[in-house]
Each structure stands twice: as structure tokens, then as C-alpha cells.
Amino acid sequence: MIEGPRRWCFLAAIGFAVVAAAQAGEIPASDRRTDYQLMSPELRQMQDDDTVNPGMLWVLDGEALWERKEGSQGKSCADCHGGAAASMKGVAARYPTIDPKLGQPIDLEGRINACRTVHQGAPPLDFESKELLALTVYVARQSKGLPIDIPDNPATARFVDAGRSIFERRQGQLNLSCAQCHDDNWGQKLAGATIPQGHPNGYPVYRLEWQSLGSLQRRLRNCLFGMRAEPYAYGASEMTELELFLAWRARGLAIETPAVRP
């Protein structure tokens, strides 16, 4: 048992630690910044110029797929939705969203595959397939420049909380949580690289390391692998919960799809 002044010192130290832990956590809106701002001028230029950004190659593919008739119903996306420029504007800024029928969050890839199976009578596309990436990036691009807007309601909050608990859970052989890097130490260095805040506003992104476009789920699996944790499977409920939490955490940031990242 610690007695006297030392005891008060000890309690004060605990109190300070609790306050510090409560302050870590969500990044306030004024400090929230896209990973774009950490990139070199050359990479920013690559992202900004539509004739240089390799992600635009997938956008062109997506534009063609939007018009292609698919499945037993012989319908294209355009047959129901019309021109994507009008009908898909702002959609990616609201995703992942809670699907009323499933009662669970669903991301853009999930929605496109649900549309294919239910309305087009076509088999779902594989995760990370060229076609699914092309359609996703084409739809998401229609929201470029619009702020991420995840609604504040109890149905959403339940899954945001589930995603937050995954984000803050220590896992893997390195015993790390996502929050330890991306909430507590963003802006610091991890070896030569600056730790980003980890926002999902540019996905699907063209990542130079992949030499390809890739989804947010691929990036999350990549991070989990780096933590030496077992990555969640593509399409797992943990994935969509984490994606929803990340979108909620990035509210207000503009969509940059297709972003370029190192």
C-alpha cells in the first residue's frame, strides 16, 4: 500500500493517463486530413491529371461495363439507373450503408454484386477482379469532390461501434491495434514512411506498390498482414464494419477516387 504524498502522486499519474487515453481516439475535424497531403508533388500531379492517373484506365473499363447487358435478365446497369453521372453522384460518399433487408452494412462492391444477383440474374463478381474494381471505381468516381457523409442514426451507430472496437483491438503477433498507428501516431515516421491517418476517401486506389488498382478490403488485409494478424476474409462482416467505421471517422473529407498512393 502506498501512503502519504506519494500515493497522491500515484493517483494523479493514473488520472493523467486516463485523460490522455480518452483524448487519443477520434481525430477532430480540424486535424482530419487526407493522405493526399502527405504525398510528393509528383504523385499529387499523377493523381490530379486524368490523362496520367492510371486509375482512369479502370474508370474507362467501368464506363463500358455500365452499359453492358448481363445475366439472365439481359439488363445493364444503365437500363435501371440511367446515366451514372446523375444517378450515382454522391452514392459513394454515403457508403458503406446499412442495407434494410440484410440489417447489416454493405459496401459498394457488395451493392454491385447484390444488384447483379438480384436484378440482373448474373453471378457475383470475384473480389479484386478487374470487372468489380472497374465498376466500383466508375461508380465512386461520380462522387469525386463530395464530402463523406455517414448518417448519425442508431442503426448505423451500432455498426460504427462494432467497427471501432475492431479498430481499437490489439491483434496479431505484434500486438498492435489500427488506432495505435493511425489515431495516436499519425504524422510520425514508421521507418522512412510517414504514418497516414488512414482514411478511405480515395478507394479503390491505384497503388504503385501493387502496380494495380485495389479495393479498401485489399488494403486492410495488407495492414493486418503487416501486423502479423490473420487477415479477415474478403466480404467478412468485420471488413464491412471496419470500412463503415473508417468512413464515419473520415466524415467531411472529399472523395478522391481514383486516388494514387505509393
Binding site: D49, D50, T51, V52, P54, M56, L57, D61, Q211, S212
Partner: protein
Amino acid sequence: MTRALINVPAKAKRGDIIEIKTLISHPMESGYRVGTNGQMIPRDIIHRFVCTYNGDEVFRAELSPAIAANPFISFFTVATESGSIAFEWAGDNGFAASERADITIE
């Protein structure tokens, strides 16, 4: 589906130095990687790129396995006369792609 993005200024003054940018979708598989089945993945690269301006060759590049996927090539030429600028890529497994863009000289 091979996709290419070309950026050529639509208009230029005679004698101007213009920048031309090209981007093409291609895996540029080096031939030095091993697949998940343990077998070598065969080489599949673009090995030649040629740009002609009204039929005259103005730029040529030889590409090698060390070049990343979706090669981006940018270069300069002098705007001489109105006409078309043509681009051709050729590679392994009979890969061939071509694009063209028109330019007006004022």
C-alpha cells in the same frame, strides 16, 4: 480490354514545343516472378513504342522487363503542321495497340 489514354494539345502554334503524354494498360509481367503454383510466370511485356507525326517517326522507345505495369511515356516534339499523331505499341504474345490524335496548327 486494352485501354490507352493520350494527351496531345488540340491546338498549337507552328514551331511550338508540345508535350505528348501516353498511358496504356498492360501487366508488364517481367518473366522473373514465380506464381503461387511455384511455376515461373512467362514474360509478357510491351517491347516497342513508336509515335509518328503525319507518317514521320518522331519518337521511339524500347521497353524492358524492369518497367512497371501500365507504362506511362511522355515526350516532346515540335508542332510543324496540322494533321494526326499516331501511336503504336507492340509486345509479347502478339500484343498490338494503336491510337491517334489530331492536332491543329494555327
